[in-house]
């Protein structure tokens, strides 16, 4: 049986429904991300797990125990907040010791546990500093140690990295994941950053307008998005409109494209930039020709936007120091494999390129 169960949870504030029917089972030790744009209900869902909000309907249980009506201070959950929320009047050590003191642990044991936790996050030398003397990254590590010190059953991370600089964000997310694996603690991580979610999670819950659009591993979410929202929110996707012929082919503005499976009527096709190439190969049997609109040099990658069939298709190519990329206005042919074509829900009227 799963360790954390969320069943049929709904939440409305007044007439405003923020979470509409949410179900999720989390295994012990799993790292789950709630991914979605702001206002999608991910933070509200997290706060219901924490106990700061009470669901309008549904139940939440941890380790077989229904906690839906339990106040937060009884749930034995750890939480890290976006704005650190360290107690400014306490030293680093006292912050980490807070939960242990509340739990009534003997002083000697507290000292030991605090030292252990600070060693774990590599900040033992800063034990006597105060939060205002620490950098953002250090503060967030202390917040993590504080949350973990009382050995909570579940760890909740509410956008813990979004207030930090880009560099620290990357190193800290690796640190968090390593720590989580080491302690084997069940974790829910809320973020609007797809890169964070993809790189850290065992499974991702992509949320949109109060619903879980798709739940799956990062690989599934990225490569087999179930809805157009998931496809466009996670990663970059070029969208092309065409007419399905009913026999695994589609016609796009006169060109023919082979699909992974048959489709009929108006279809929207999605293509990842890395699936398209300017080089032909045995499996890249589809071809489309167009003019380069834009060349973005991103460092290790060069991203081209090619005008094809009335839309723009993004093509990633590796940077090659010996061979400069093609220029704007060049006519190029894009090659891609039928298996890489995503056939998305039908009928959206307008053509669009998914932005970043």
């Amino acid at each position: 049986m799963s360790f954390l169960r969320i069943e049929g949870v709904k939440k409305s504030f007044g007439g405003n429904t923020v979470v509409r029917g949410f179900d999720l089972s989390v295994e012990k030790g799993e790292f789950i991300s709630f991914l979605g744009p702001s206002g999608c209900g991910k933070t509200t869902m997290l706060r219901m797990v924490a106990g700061f909000e009470t669901p309008t309907a549904g139940t939440i249980s941890i380790d077989g125990q229904d906690v839906t009506a339990q106040p937060p201070n009884r749930r034995r959950i750890g939480m890290v907040f976006q704005a650190y929320a360290l107690f400014p009047n306490m030293s680093v050590a006292d912050n980490v010791a807070f939960g242990l003191k509340i739990a009534g642990m003997p002083a000697a044991q507290i000292r030991e546990r605090v030292a252990e936790m600070l060693t774990l996050i590599g900040l033992r030398h800063l034990a006597d500093r105060y939060p205002y003397q620490l950098s953002g990254g250090q503060q967030q590590r202390v917040a993590l140690a504080r949350a973990l010190a009382p050995s909570p059953r579940v760890l909740l991370l509410d956008e813990p990295l979004s207030a930090l600089d880009a560099k620290i964000r990357v190193s800290l997310r690796e640190e968090i994941r390593a720590l989580q694996r080491k302690l084997g603690i069940t974790t829910i991580f809320v973020t609007h950053d797809q890169e964070e979610a993809l790189s850290m999670s065992d499974r991702i819950v992509v949320m949109n307008e109060g619903r879980a659009d798709q739940i799956g591993t990062p690989f599934e979410i990225y490569n087999r998005p179930k809805t157009r929202f998931v496809a466009s929110f996670v990663g970059n996707l070029s969208l092309l409109e065409g007419e399905g012929t009913g026999d695994a082919r589609a016609i796009l503005a006169g060109d023919e494209v082979i699909l992974p499976f048959p489709a009929r009527g108006r279809v929207i096709l999605g293509l990842r930039p890395e699936a398209a190439s300017l080089q032909a190969s045995a499996d890249r049997t589809n071809q489309l020709t167009g003019r380069i609109d834009e060349v973005n040099f991103l460092g290790s990658l060069v991203r081209l936007r090619v005008a094809v069939a009335g839309a723009g298709v993004l093509v990633d190519m590796f940077n090659n120091p010996g061979n400069p990329p093609p220029g704007r206005g060049d006519i190029v042919t894009i090659h891609f494999a039928p298996a890489d074509v995503q056939v998305l829900e039908h009928t959206p009227p307008e053509l669009a390129i998914a932005a970043e």
Partner: protein, 305 residues
């Protein structure tokens, strides 16, 4: 940060003679802009105080002496200081406690939104409603024939003055001071209460703390420097108050400002230099409490990042 420092351009130095002279001229000209302000402050703030301060260290013949300060220890002057300090402490303590409670209720108490602006605006008025009109209001309310005194006697059969209350006594004056101290406290402690982050409460809660534990271990320690600082400000506020107590009790209630007032009016003290010492003593007490207030406020602000 260090990268920025090393990469940034080296500060330019104005080495040419012309540039230096222009800089000097500009500084010299700019300085003139402050002359009116400092001239006024010198004439009407510093020199008068300096006059008193030097006089406090002189005897009638103009020689240096500490005798004036020694004489502050004579029974009646010591009594005046003692009464002033006690009254100010009590009224500041009352104001602090009630003001913080009111601040808690109005700002964090989960009351309807309109409550806060109403109390804040009223407090702006009430904290300025000191002096003689305030004394009149309390005489009309709690004086011997005050309305509340009468209502208590006629309707509830309770004789306030028979029970030992007297508006013109220590506690009566303290109760009157509360009318401007409590609102002042509300006004100056409000930013600190606003500065209590919701996340702190939530963080404490999820770490297992009860509401009580959150208040005792997190919120109150965080607020403490602000509260203590505000307490000292209220202390100074009460210590310098003259008009309210004068209008209430005439000159029978001999706090330091009253003694000084009489001294200026009619030279009650045989030695004018003693009066200077009395004044300097007041300024010292006010300065000390205000300085500690500033130190505590800086400390509280350091936490609020």
């Amino acid at each position: 940060m260090s990268a920025e420092e090393t990469l940034g351009p080296a500060p330019m130095r104005a080495t040419s003679e012309g540039a230096t002279r222009r800089l000097g001229l500009r500084l010299g000209g700019s300085w003139l802009g402050l002359v009116p302000f400092f001239a006024f402050a010198l004439l009407f703030l510093f020199l008068p105080i300096l006059y008193l301060a030097t006089g406090a260290f002189q005897n009638a013949a103009g020689e240096f002496t500490l005798a004036n300060f020694a004489e502050l220890a004579t029974p009646n002057l010591r009594a005046a200081y003692s009464l002033s300090v006690r009254l100010s402490l009590v009224s500041a303590a009352l104001g602090t406690i009630t003001g913080v409670l009111l601040g808690y209720a109005v700002i964090l108490g989960g009351l309807p939104r309109w409550v806060r602006p109403v109390f804040m605006t009223f407090s702006g008025v009430a904290s300025n409603f000191a002096g003689i009109p305030l004394a009149f209001a309390f005489i009309a309310t709690l004086g011997r024939i005050g309305l509340l005194t009468m209502v208590l006697r006629d309707v509830f059969g309770f004789n306030l003055y028979g029970a030992g209350f007297n508006l013109f006594s220590f506690w009566g004056v303290a109760l009157t001071y509360l009318y401007f101290q409590m609102p002042l406290m509300l006004l100056i402690v409000a930013p600190a209460l606003d500065g209590l982050k919701t996340e702190w409460r939530e963080a404490a809660e999820i770490l297992g703390a009860s509401r009580r534990q959150y208040w005792l271990r997190v919120a109150l320690p965080i607020l403490m420097p602000s509260i203590l600082g505000c307490f000292l400000l209220l202390f100074a506020n009460a210590f310098g108050t003259l008009a309210t107590v004068y209008a209430l009790t005439g000159s029978r209630f001999a706090v330091v400002p009253i003694v000084l007032y009489q001294q200026i009016q009619g030279n009650v003290l045989y030695n004018p230099n003693l009066g200077y010492a009395l004044a300097v003593g007041m300024v010292v007490i006010m300065a000390v409490s205000n300085t500690i207030y500033l130190v505590l406020r800086t400390r509280a602000e350091r936490w609020r990042t």
